[in-house]
């Protein structure tokens, strides 16, 4: 690993308490580091965007130790302590960096008064839309108005009228009256999405957010502007008026769209997912995610889900199905088509099944173009997991022609397919009829129709598990909603089959019990590692064994293949 450059710390005094913060930290972040619920309220400042300093909400009082102008000597008070020269007016916290000896007051009368004043001005032209506004409940203006506002309005003139219900793009709706002109969305489009389409027109209180003429907010990151909008000006057209946010339960998850493995939060109520938003992880996705990744939950609701364990079209229990699958696999001549979409746990038991039934394992690649930000070339979340588990030792091919040849020559009698539509990957439907198929999958398709044994699978939103992303970071996801009734988590069924193949009793039932085997069986994992002990921000694994493989990822937001190789090529400690 590269040794991080040594961080310089400076000591500043916040509300009478000395705090060490890294050099270059601004006051908002410094106050956040103090903890204890202390916060400098802010609208326009965002940790991942440039500083605009236009909302004026983060005003604090600032003072520096006094020095005599002529001599440069420290000016002392009667107790012999250096005097603090407080600035006569408040300063904004976002654009003030911590300097040695700096004194900050975040709660003085002057600060309170300026926050109150700023809030009053922001509310002058803000409509009273809270009952119909989607942001209500997570609105910074609502929160800070309650906390720092006056509680009533002194404004008796007419409010400004601006366009409402404007379509900015296919996924974003804009209500200009609610906009407080923080310019976060403009800066995001320019700096992160690199698609500069938003801007303010007109002046003063008539300033209006709009798209440049002839352009639309159409890029694949447009919904991030909705996330960072501190008020309800930018709203998601898809989530619009669907549910108030205070009813929704948040579950930490991982985006399955590509090998980036963006950290996400699933918002659900009573078993129904309403939206997906990004979760901050500075090593993976900062605070962003793609629009396409937010729509993946809709696959859960489509009608063709497999919901029953079946043997030759007859509904059976999961135990009967697993036993029948094991019996079939024991007959030999097995080929397994595993999936880079499966979790680490499922791949581990796929590997166990492959070892015990002496099967050949193939994987199919799912490659696409990168956008250079959070959508990598590899459109599967867990290819690295298959490598770490030892399921495969080479990168996968684009199709299954090798398996097709084996079937044709009669070398394969039984095919275990995990969530792949194999008829589109080189194995024709006629060829598929020559073998007995065990299909583990989410949706009904051509393969499941003809399969001897069908095992319904759970989507990533319905099960616990973990993925390994492009930079060999092990990240876990939790079940947000229950799956179809009676359907077990995929790894449990695979575990049952593997258990029956070896005639040994594996203690099962929970994912942590499974991890006792996984941690022991996979050399990359520490023996004491459990699913529950994977940190929220993920766990970096040692990638040195796989550095020579020609991974398709080139460069995106937090990953650069050349730099990654270089950083890990030097042996540890060098």
């Amino acid at each position: 690993m590269k040794v991080d450059s040594v961080v310089d710390y400076v000591t500043i005094n916040i509300d009478g308490e000395d705090v060490d913060v890294p050099k270059g930290t601004n006051i908002i972040e410094a106050v956040k580091m103090v903890g204890k619920g202390k916060e400098v309220p802010h609208y326009c400042y965002h940790p991942k965007l440039s500083i605009a300093g236009n909302c004026r909400m983060c005003m604090v009082e600032m003072g520096m130790p006094m020095r005599d102008r002529a001599t440069g000597e420290a000016v002392l008070d009667e107790n012999g302590v250096q005097k603090i020269g407080w600035m006569p007016k408040p300063t904004i916290g976002c654009a003030t960096n911590a300097a040695p000896g700096m004194h900050i007051r975040t709660n003085s009368e002057m600060v309170k008064e300026s926050r109150n004043g700023v809030t009053e001005f922001l509310l002058i032209n803000h409509p009273l839309d809270c009952p119909i506004c989607d942001q209500a409940g997570e609105c910074r203006l609502q929160e800070f108005s309650a906390e720092h506002g006056r509680g009533y309005s002194r404004f008796i003139e007419q409010k400004n009228v601006k366009p409402k219900r404007t379509r900015l793009g296919s996924r974003v709706t804009l209500d200009d009256e609610r906009c407080i002109l923080c310019s976060r969305c403009i800066r995001f489009s320019k700096e992160i999405a690199k698609d500069d389409v938003l801007g303010f027109v007109d002046r003063g209180t008539y300033s209006t957010l709009t798209c440049f003429p002839g352009k639309e907010l159409e890029n694949n990151y447009s919904l991030n502007t909705v996330d960072i909008c501190p008020v309800g000006a930018l709203t998601s057209t898809d989530f619009r008026f669907k549910m108030r946010v205070w009813f929704l339960k948040r579950t930490h998850s991982i985006c399955t769209e590509s090998s980036v493995g963006a950290n996400t939060e699933i918002w659900s109520r009573e078993g129904k997912i309403y939206r997906i938003t990004p979760r901050r992880n500075d090593a993976v996705n900062d605070t962003w995610m793609t629009d396409s990744g937010r729509e993946l939950f809709k696959e859960v609701e489509v009608g063709d889900r497999l919901t029953h364990y079946t043997i030759d079209g007859v509904h059976k229990t999961s135990a009967e199905t697993a036993a029948a699958a094991a019996k079939l696999l024991k007959e030999g001549k097995v080929a397994i088509i595993a999936s880079p979409h499966s979790s680490v746990e499922e791949q581990f038991y796929c590997k166990a099944i492959a070892d015990r039934s002496e099967a050949t394992v193939s994987l199919v690649s799912h490659y696409g173009a990168t956008d250079g930000i959070l959508q990598s070339e590899d459109r599967s979340p867990n290819l690295r997991g298959a490598l770490v588990n030892g399921l495969v030792d080479q990168l996968p091919d684009a199709d299954l022609s090798a398996v097709a040849q084996q079937i044709e020559s009669g070398a394969v009698d039984t095919l275990l397919v995990v969530n792949e539509e194999v008829t589109q990957l080189g194995i024709s439907a006629e060829l598929l009829k020559k073998v007995k198929v065990i299909y583990i999958g989410l949706h009904a398709n051509v393969v499941s129709e003809d399969a001897a044994i069908v095992i319904p699978s759970l989507s990533v939103f319905e099960k616990d598990g973990s993925f390994i992303n492009q930079s060999f970071r092990l990240q876990r996801f939790k079940a947000a909603i229950p799956g179809p009734r009676g359907v077990l988590s995929d790894f449990m069924v695979l575990e049952h089959i593997a258990e029956a193949l070896a005639d040994e009793k594996i203690p099962s039932g929970s994912i942590d019990a499974a991890w006792e085997h996984i941690a022991k069986g996979v050399s990359q994992f520490d023996d004491s590692l459990r699913w529950r002990s994977i940190p929220e921000e993920g766990l970096e694994l040692d990638p040195t064994a796989f550095l020579d493989l020609p991974f398709v990822e080139t460069k995106n937001l937090k990953y650069d293949s050349a730099a990654f190789k270089e950083a890990h090529a030097t042996p540890a400690g060098a």
Binding site: P127, C130, P131, I132, A136, Q158, K159, N160, V161, K164, R165, D202, Y206, T208, R240, F241, K242, M243, R244, W246, F247
Partner: protein, 182 residues
């Protein structure tokens, strides 16, 4: 422990022993009420008059122009202690109702389960649009559990129209038309 105070019982007087004064007092009351107006109501043919602040069955009301007031903010659903209210929010179709397009939001479905409702009136108290009121209906019955769930249509039937002090959304529309447009 509290101290027990023993009170001596006075012996009955001669008049009390005859019971005649007591009987006469009783007969006096009977005689008086016999010629008064009847107090007992022949329920259910006759109904009592219900005071304005009575907390009966929760209902949805329309404004005097017959327009829906609820904007499905779901605050009543949130505040409801026994979780009797269930709302599915929806969007107002701007083409079907152009005069209400600026309200944007209205409930698609609105169910109140009267088997759960405890008539606490918190929904009325919390409503920012003054759209839900506990009115004078106090007796309701049904043959099945489903019948006891009041849907949106039933709630508006029960609620009827109430006078509106504010006409909030009309004011908003007027401001939109005559406000400080640039």
């Amino acid at each position: 422990m509290a101290k027990t105070k023993v009170i001596e019982r006075k012996p009955l007087t001669f008049a009390e022993k005859t019971f005649i004064p007591q009987i006469l007092t009783g007969l006096k009351t009977t005689g008086k009420t016999m010629f008064q107006k009847n107090i007992t109501l022949q329920y259910p043919d006759e109904r009592p008059s219900i005071p304005d602040n009575y907390r009966g069955v929760p209902t949805l009301v329309k404004d005097p122009n017959g327009r829906e007031k609820c904007v499905s903010c779901q605050l009543c659903e949130f505040v409801c202690p026994p979780k009797a209210i269930r709302i599915t929010p929806g969007e107002i179709d701007a083409e079907a109702e152009p005069d209400r397009a600026h309200v944007e939001k209205a409930p698609k479905e609105f169910d109140i389960n009267m088997l759960r409702c405890i008539y606490c009136g918190l929904c009325q108290e919390v409503c920012p649009e003054e759209a839900i009121f506990l009115q004078d209906v106090f007796s309701l019955s049904g043959y099945s559990r489903d019948e006891m769930v009041n849907n949106k249509q039933k709630l508006y039937e029960l609620g009827g129209t109430l006078p509106d002090k504010h006409y909030k959304w009309d004011k908003k529309k007027a401001a939109e038309e005559h406000g400080n447009a640039h």
